[in-house]
Amino acid sequence: MTEAIKVEKLTKYYGRPGSGVLAVDHVDFQVQHGEVFGFLGPNGAGKTTTQRMLTTLLEPTEGTIRIHGHDLSRDAYPVKRQMGLVPEESNVYTELSAWDNLMFTGRLYRVSADQRRLRARELLDTFGLWETRSAKAETFSKGMRRRLSIAMAIIHRPKLLFLDEPTPGLDAQSARAIRDLIRQMNAEGTTVFLTTHQIEEANQLCDRVAIINHGQIAAIDTPERLKAAFRRVQSVEVALEPDGGVHGESLAALAGVTTAVKAGDKWRLYTEDPSALLPRLLHYAEDKGLQVISLNTLGPSLEDVFLEITGQQVGVVRHGGQPESPGRGHKGGGR
């Protein structure tokens, strides 16, 4: 047995099948023991619904979920004992102190009194909450509540941890502390199921990712293999001065450029053949009297892959009359 999670034909309708809303549509995937598995998708793609089924909060309309070999529909109890859940909203009891929140959760998971106290102290230290352990959680900042929520989810040392969007809205320090903790727990043997739409976070943390869109798995692989499969979204990133002299349309019209995207003080030119584009770009700069400040060729990022697969678009510069690529978001244009 190497699978921590095995999902087959998982389907969920909100409301009655047929007349309800189909949120997850015959999804299959497996998560191996000791993996950090990223579950990516745009809003409304079915990420949280899938996670709620995996954590027994929703009943699948169809399909099976096996966790650590147990069929979740028949034998959820042993699974729940080994599972930790950090939902999107920090669900702490704001009327209780950090310490009491941890004590309550420890009791729910039947952690012995001695272990409960030791573990609570360790977690409060780790999350920088020891000094405020006696204060009611209603006085905590968003980041502190998030950290407490995670501490509550792992007080029983779960073998499988579900995290739903753990870092959005947090300051950089808190987000980093949480990512470090995920890595540390994974190094100690915890399997992590990370639901997120933060692509870079998944890229940094995940051994494999699944991209879900419209309730179906669109791709599933390691981040690097996914990027390799999308070589067509390679790009050349260039910074030109004076920046005001650059026109998105004219860059997008260079031969081989599929789209031109403004990225801060740089332009990102998507192409299938960066080496052929470079001399054309330098020629363009020379013609326009522009100075090349920096020039890089880039492989596809996981975000590119994600946008390509999910068909999201964020503002477009069209390549003179050529139909735009259906995937990636494009931005920029006539300036």
Partner: protein, 254 residues
């Protein structure tokens, strides 16, 4: 295998108790809840008893039934929607305990609150108004079972999948008030028209009021054992309905 079953049972009872203690600290020991639990039954009593020459015995009997009914059934429709909205209910549902354990914990905490609240009029009646009790056994058994029954009754409303307290409070109020007026708390069963008495039998409060009459006044309209037997039945029915509503919520995803 048997040892594992015993251990599981111990775990579940300890988890139910953890839910009780947490709910008491988070929701029940708050000034609004205490004021509501203690004052509302007194207001009701004076509203319907003043100028009606109600003696202290009848008054105590009514007040005990009303206090138990309102305090035990009030928390469920408030607390569970609040917990759903805050996401803390998911924490309970995802924990390694059965739904029955969670519902048991929620029922127990409402019942404890009702018992404590009903102790106030009882002590006032005994020591302040010098009311002598006709059947202490009926009184204690009745208060305990009625508290459990009405707490489970309130849980049914809380089990509807809503995150807004208002969406649950409105229907729960619309149902609880008619049950109060039908119950015989203000018009004794023996004075009701036969059709009204038939309606009164549909109110669970009827049996508690009748039992309190046996306990305080020494007589009632129905047999006290019948009043008493119906209360655990109400607990079982309400918990079954609450569990069914939870299951429906998981299935339909509301």
């Amino acid at each position: 295998m048997r040892d594992r079953g015993v251990q599981r049972l111990r775990d579940e009872l300890a988890q139910a108790w953890a839910v009780v203690v947490k709910d008491v600290r988070v929701y029940y020991l708050t000034p609004p809840m205490i004021m509501f639990g203690l004052l509302l039954p007194f207001f009701l009593f004076f509203s319907f008893s003043i100028k009606r020459e109600v003696g202290p015995e009848v008054g105590l009997s009514r007040l005990l039934a009303l206090t138990t009914f309102f305090t035990a059934s009030s928390a469920g429709p408030v607390i569970i929607p609040l917990e759903r909205r805050n996401g803390t209910y998911d924490r309970l549902l995802a924990a390694p305990m059965s739904l029955a354990t969670l519902l048991l914990g929620k029922t127990l905490v409402g019942a404890f609150f009702a018992l404590i609240a009903s102790a106030v009029p009882l002590l006032v009646g005994i020591f302040g108004l010098h009311v002598s009790l006709a059947g202490i056994g009926w009184l204690l058994a009745g208060l305990v079972l009625a508290s459990l029954a009405f707490s489970a009754f309130g849980l049914v409303f809380g089990s509807f999948p809503a995150q807004s307290v208002g969406n649950i409070m409105m229907p729960s109020t619309l149902i609880r008030w008619p049950l109060l007026f039908l119950s015989g708390a203000f018009i004794p069963l023996e004075e009701m028209a036969p059709w009204a008495r038939l309606l009164a039998y549909a109110s669970p409060l009827t049996y508690t009021q009748d039992l309190m009459n046996h306990a305080v006044l020494g007589s009632g309209y129905l047999a006290p054992w019948l009043d008493l037997a119906l209360l655990p039945l109400l607990v079982a029915v309400c918990l079954a309905v609450a569990a069914r509503l939870h299951h429906r919520s998981r299935v339909l995803g509301y």
